[in-house]
């Protein structure tokens, strides 16, 4: 059973690694660096703004700690087929789950350590008489409570009958207890928090074996929970890349239908009809496009040198055009796209129409901050004209050769 866990874990980690590599792509890392920088500056000014302790400080901090406690779930990597193939091995599953629980602790430990480090300055300011030791003890208690929650999740995999009071195996109860002890810790003494956490933890650990032995593994519940957990992770990855096992479902977005009427339904426009709907209702390309437009426009507002602004302006136009290019072959996997008696010239023409429409809208929006910032400088009109020429050259020159290469 432990071998099975190790094998699954390796496979799982490979997969996570593969996706994380895609998530932390160049664009995102750059955006992330800016974001962290901005957050850091904001946080620093917030700490300065708070300046001294308030009576509500401990409440805010206790709530933050309770939120930290919620990070990281019990990852058991159980698969649907297990309930059929491994049913005879049910007894040994406990060892598998123990190993899984241990693994599930790693992420919370890292997160709790990091976030406590981040929260340290705020605590020192916000709570009267607090010291570094307060934060250390709080971090320790959070860890102990997290351990409890993971035990609860493991025990909930079984339908044992040694603990008759249901709420003791309810996570909400433990969250409540944790919140209460955090409050006591901040208002009175952090020692209380540690002691309460330890009592809870030891009591629960004492119950585990008997409880598990007295019950059966609830395969269907465990499988459903694990699937839901994986789905949540994949959904996040899906924001950055295409997750094959997760068909990003199309959204109807009825409110966008007026735009769709811009396309005249005739034979020549067959592919434009398809592309435009696919673009507006799909989750992938529209998201990327909007992100580029919004982030680009915001950044341009803060640029006060015209040549830097122009370079970024063209860069954002290029990036959003470039990431749209693969959309051309989005539907090639669907047989009918190949069977339609529509010439490939008409298909390319349709795609270019979509591209020129989207890029012109972006050009129009992103020209606003340039005009607002530099309206006194006549050069700005040249920049904007260059932008439009760039869009036309991209769509009718560059994109054609790019698509042929693909």
């Amino acid at each position: 059973m432990l071998d099975l866990w190790k094998k699954r874990l390796r496979k799982h980690q490979m997969e996570q690694f593969k996706y994380l590599k895609l998530v932390f792509n160049d664009h995102f890392v750059i955006a992330l660096i800016f974001l962290i920088g901005a957050l850091g500056v904001g946080y620093a000014s917030l700490v300065r703004l708070v300046a001294h302790a308030y009576w509500w400080g401990p409440i805010v901090l206790s709530l933050i700690y309770s939120l930290i406690l919620a990070i990281g779930r019990f990852a058991n990597l159980i698969e649907a087929a297990d309930s059929t193939f491994l049913l005879p091995k049910e007894g040994e599953f406990f060892h598998y789950l123990l190993a899984a629980r241990k693994y599930s602790l790693i992420l919370p430990i890292i997160v709790i350590f990091g976030l406590n480090l981040a929260i340290l300055p705020l605590t020192l300011v916000l709570v009267q008489g607090s010291s570094v030791w307060t934060v250390i003890l709080m971090a320790l208690s959070t860890l102990i409570f997290k351990d409890v929650l993971l035990w609860v999740e493991l025990m909930n995999c079984y339908d044992g009958n040694t603990i008759n009071t249901n709420w003791l195996l309810n996570k909400s109860f433990w969250y409540g207890l944790a919140l209460l002890s955090f409050l006591l810790g901040f208002y009175v003494s952090p020692i209380i928090t540690v002691v309460l956490a330890l009592i809870g933890n030891l009591w629960l650990r004492h119950q585990v074996i008997n409880y598990v032995i007295s019950g059966n593994l609830r395969f269907s519940v465990v499988i459903a929970n694990e699937n839901a957990r994986q789905f949540r992770i994949l959904k996040i990855y899906n924001l950055f890349t295409d997750v094959p096992s997760l068909q990003s479902p199309a959204k109807r977005r009825k409110y966008l239908d007026p735009f769709l009427r811009l396309v005249k339904p005739n034979h020549e426009n067959s592919f434009l009809y398809l592309f435009f709907r696919g673009f507006l209702r799909g989750t992938e390309y529209l998201g990327f496009y909007l992100r580029f437009v919004i982030i680009g426009t915001i950044i341009l507002f803060f640029i006060h040198q015209i040549w830097v602004g122009t370079v970024l302006y063209l860069l954002f136009l290029y990036l959003s055009g470039f990431q749209l290019l693969p959309f051309y072959s989005q539907y090639d996997g669907i047989v009918f796209t190949k069977l339609y008696p529509v010439t490939s010239k008409a298909k390319l023409h349709s795609f270019q129409q979509l591209l020129v429409g989207l890029m012109s809208v972006q050009w129009l929006i992103m020209s606003m901050p340039l005009i607002i910032n530099f309206y006194q400088n006549p050069l700005v009109w040249v920049c904007i004209a260059v932008g439009l020429l760039f869009v036309l050259a991209f769509v009718y020159g560059y994109s054609k050769t790019r698509i042929k290469k693909v």
Binding site: P249, A250, P265, Y273, G282, I334, F336, L339, Y340
Partner: protein, 247 residues
């Protein structure tokens, strides 16, 4: 003569799955393409619709080849794949509209025709839904409706009876029958021999990528010297031959 396959050799990359296949699907007839899993039914169909390029031989639909006029060729074909494939972002109505645009059909006339089909399949109240979320059988019905609303000369249906409920199978056969009366050719690949025997006019028996026999049931009976046999018996006889030949 709607479909004519002459000396077709082909398959995936350099592996020849089909070896020198010859057969015709006549107008106003249902031709059953019969064979075991892996006999080459789907490969044949992929060649006909143009997803695969023949290594040798030629395929004509109404006298046209894919090479000579791609779009005219495709206009003459309607295809229902074995597993439904749909555009995730289009509603049922939009699937129909797209097909109307792509095949350059008359919108009002076709819409009326397709309404009838949808009513038959009890899909007429789901026009604004995404068919990608339908059950497999319902998706298959969408595919059938989209194919049979066209004026194609050749209808190709790959394994039509899998996933459909008995009522839908009957409805499909009615629709096929109607197209047949209008003079279209129908090519249907299947394992369900009893139904095939009942409805198809001619059969093409594929084995190991080759046409083992073809003709009406009577012709097959005399070829296999089994005067009282049904299609099932003949089919079993053919597979036994295959095993003997390999032994």
């Amino acid at each position: 003569m709607s479909l004519e396959i002459n000396n077709l050799t082909g398959g995936y990359a350099h592996v020849a799955v089909l070896k020198n296949v010859n057969f015709k699907a006549e107008d106003g007839q249902i031709t059953g393409l019969i064979g075991l899993n892996g006999a080459g039914k789907s490969t044949t169909i992929k060649h006909v619709i143009g997803l695969l390029t023949p290594q040798k031989g030629e395929i004509k639909v109404d006298g046209k080849t894919l090479k000579s006029d791609r779009d005219a060729y495709h206009k003459k074909i309607a295809y229902v794949p074995e597993t439904p494939v749909l555009y995730p972002e289009l509603t049922l109505r939009e699937h129909i509209e797209l097909a109307i645009m792509a095949y350059d059909l008359d919108a009002n006339q076709t819409m009326a025709r397709v309404q009838e089909l949808l009513k038959k399949f009890r899909l007429d109240n789901k026009l604004d839904w995404f068919p990608n979320n339908f059950s497999k059988g319902m998706q298959q019905k969408v595919m059938i409706a989209c194919a049979f609303m066209t004026d194609a000369r050749l209808f190709i249906i790959d394994e039509p009876f899998t996933g459909l409920d008995p009522l839908a199978i009957h409805d499909l056969l009615d629709i096929v029958e109607a197209k047949k009366k209008q003079g279209a050719a129908i090519l249907m690949s299947t394992h369900i021999l009893a139904t095939a025997q009942q409805y198809a006019d001619r059969f093409v028996l594929l084995n190991n990528g080759q046409v083992r026999a073809q003709g009406s049931l009577d012709e097959l009976k005399s070829e296999f010297h089994m005067s009282n046999a049904n299609l099932d018996d003949i089919y079993m006889q053919m597979t036994r031959e295959g095993v003997d030949a390999n032994a």
